[in-house]
């Protein structure tokens, strides 16, 4: 309770002892990255800790979501329907700075901005997303992406729009090549939803066309469900080549649109979507937070980077198997990370009995959706999936289930984007 007496004491302390007032100043929570992890973290912090000062650093003024990008490729959604601004985030009381965080000094607790400014913090939530590993596939660099789009890091939406234009311009009967990376990568079911959504467009607009999916892996998320749907909806249209049948792409010729496999097979295609191998975003690697494989190992309760306690790393930049790199996991884990950060800053214990929740929906066709659910908890050595729970949609001819999951997928998208960017 606020009494006149505590007020007086507080005022007196502020006037008499600036050093003490600094110690009692609002806790500064700095969030790097305005995507699913960072925007969710900012909202949760703002809603739950009115006394904490929340600052969000995000270079872009408009955020294009990865989820539902494949529906833009299908032509059933427009880019502006998956693009969001930060007005509502700001209106909620978050200080939003549109600049690039270029470096972290964990000792001084300060973040350097590309614009020259340095921002101090008490606790840092780092949700920077991924970097594409240019050159991991020989010949696939930023220039090549202008010819063979990845459309995997949306940026301003240009990559998604480019791939859509190429699909629209392709002649009927053309082959669309899709190169799919090894694990781990952002959104495990994403490439297969993309195959499905491109197929749904081709079936309507260019029915003689084919999709050649060249995969570095031998198995993938919701594989049985996807392949059942491909056989039912797009028979003969999709060829999926796993890594152990020479599906791994090691080289591209961007001008000739040639995808070359590990054993030298050269696939010349009409349109090529190359999803390259990935790592945590550059700032995480530059700050020395990532392991040798390029991802940030984190504490399963607090999400503090093992390499730098005090920096809580959420979203696709961390490695938290068996949890997937998904928007929902970024959202779900953001709350535990923020609550832990603030508790630790105040000398309290992080919330106990943490659980993390994920539902990944994939659109496979018109009114045809499938899902995988996972409930995870901190374990003695990382994260543990809760036994006898979660899992994928049932297989079989279940039109009502598929139709409802497609509708529920839309509701998920609306709910989670409202939470991050809505009023």
């Amino acid at each position: 309770m606020i009494t006149r007496r505590t007020l007086g004491l507080g005022a007196a302390a502020l006037i008499a002892a600036p050093a003490i007032s600094r110690a009692q100043a609002p806790l500064r929570l700095l969030v790097i990255g305005g995507g699913f992890g960072g925007a969710s973290a900012a909202r949760f912090a703002r809603d739950s800790y009115p006394d904490v000062q929340v600052t969000l650093i995000e270079p872009r003024t408009r955020f294009v979501t990865c989820p539902y990008g494949n529906l833009v490729l299908a032509g059933t959604k427009q880019l502006d329907a998956i693009t969001f601004g930060y007005d509502a985030v700001r209106a909620r009381g978050v200080t939003v700075i549109h600049d690039l965080a270029s470096g972290i000094d964990p000792v001084a607790k300060s973040v350097r901005l590309a614009g020259g400014q340095a921002l101090g913090y008490d606790r840092l939530i780092l949700s920077p997303g991924i970097a594409l590993r240019w050159g991991a596939i020989e010949g696939y660099d930023e220039a090549a992406a202008g010819l063979l789009p990845h459309a995997w890091v949306p940026g301003d939406g240009g990559q998604t729009a480019l791939l859509r234009r190429q699909l629209e311009a392709m002649e009927d009967g053309g082959v669309v090549g899709i190169a799919i990376p090894p694990n781990p990568f952002r959104c495990p079911p994403g490439p297969y939803e993309r195959i499905s959504m491109i197929a749904s467009y081709l079936k309507k607009a260019k029915p003689r066309s084919k999709i050649l999916a060249l995969d570095a892996k031998e198995a993938f998320s919701k594989q049985g469900l996807f392949q059942d749907a491909w056989n039912a909806l797009y028979p003969g249209m999709i060829e999926w080549v796993p890594g152990n049948r020479d599906g791994k792409i090691v080289k591209v010729d961007a001008r000739e649109r040639v995808l070359e496999t590990e054993f030298g097979e050269k696939h010349r295609v009409a349109v090529a979507n190359v999803i390259p191998p990935q790592s945590a975003a550059r700032i995480a690697i530059d700050a020395g937070l990532a392991n040798a494989s390029g991802w940030v190992e984190v504490d399963p309760v607090t999400f503090e980077a093992k390499a730098a306690p005090g920096i809580h790393v959420i979203g696709d930049a961390n490695t938290a198997p068996p949890m997937p790199k998904s928007g929902f996991i970024a959202n779900s884990t953001s709350r535990q990370a923020v609550a832990s950060a603030i508790a630790l800053a105040r000398g309290a214990a992080p919330p106990a009995d943490a659980s993390y929740f994920n539902t990944c929906y994939s659109h496979v066709g018109d009114e045809y959706g499938i899902s995988v659910v996972g409930i995870f908890r901190p374990g003695p050595a990382g994260f543990v999936e809760t036994p006898n729970s979660g899992g994928v949609s049932p297989r079989g001819n279940l039109p009502d289930q598929r139709r409802l999951e497609a509708i529920y997928a839309d509701a998920w998208y609306k709910s989670i984007t409202d939470y991050m960017f809505g009023a």
Binding site: R245, E262, F263
Partner: protein
């Protein structure tokens, strides 16, 4: 199924004398162990037994496969040559059928 699949080998065309070069091999094969159940029935055993690499007829590397080798056996080894030679890669299944491929490597 009568014959075996066509083997795949990735190997440099030219190498320097005595220097290590990488050889990658991939052979499509289900490697059925005879232990797997499918729809309540046991799938019959169908395994590759061995991969042999020879240089001018002389064996330099062999692999003997047992149940724990994955389907579509994949191997990476590093060899070296002192002079230009033909390398022959031969896979043999447990029924004695073989698939073979020859690659000439020129030593410069």
């Amino acid at each position: 199924m009568s014959g075996l699949a066509t083997p795949r080998v990735r190997i440099p065309r030219t190498v320097r004398a005595g220097e290590a070069f990488e050889v990658r091999t991939l052979m499509e094969h289900p490697m059925e162990t005879g232990l797997r159940q499918d729809g309540g029935r046991t799938v019959a055993r169908n395994m590759l037994a061995r991969l042999a690499i020879t240089v001018e007829g002389k064996p330099v590397f062999e692999a003997a496969f047992r149940n724990g080798t994955a389907a579509n056996p994949f191997h990476v080894v590093h060899l070296r040559l002192s002079r230009t030679a033909d390398l022959v890669f031969t896979w043999t299944d447990e029924a004695g059928r073989t698939a073979s491929t020859t690659h000439r490597v020129t030593v410069t």
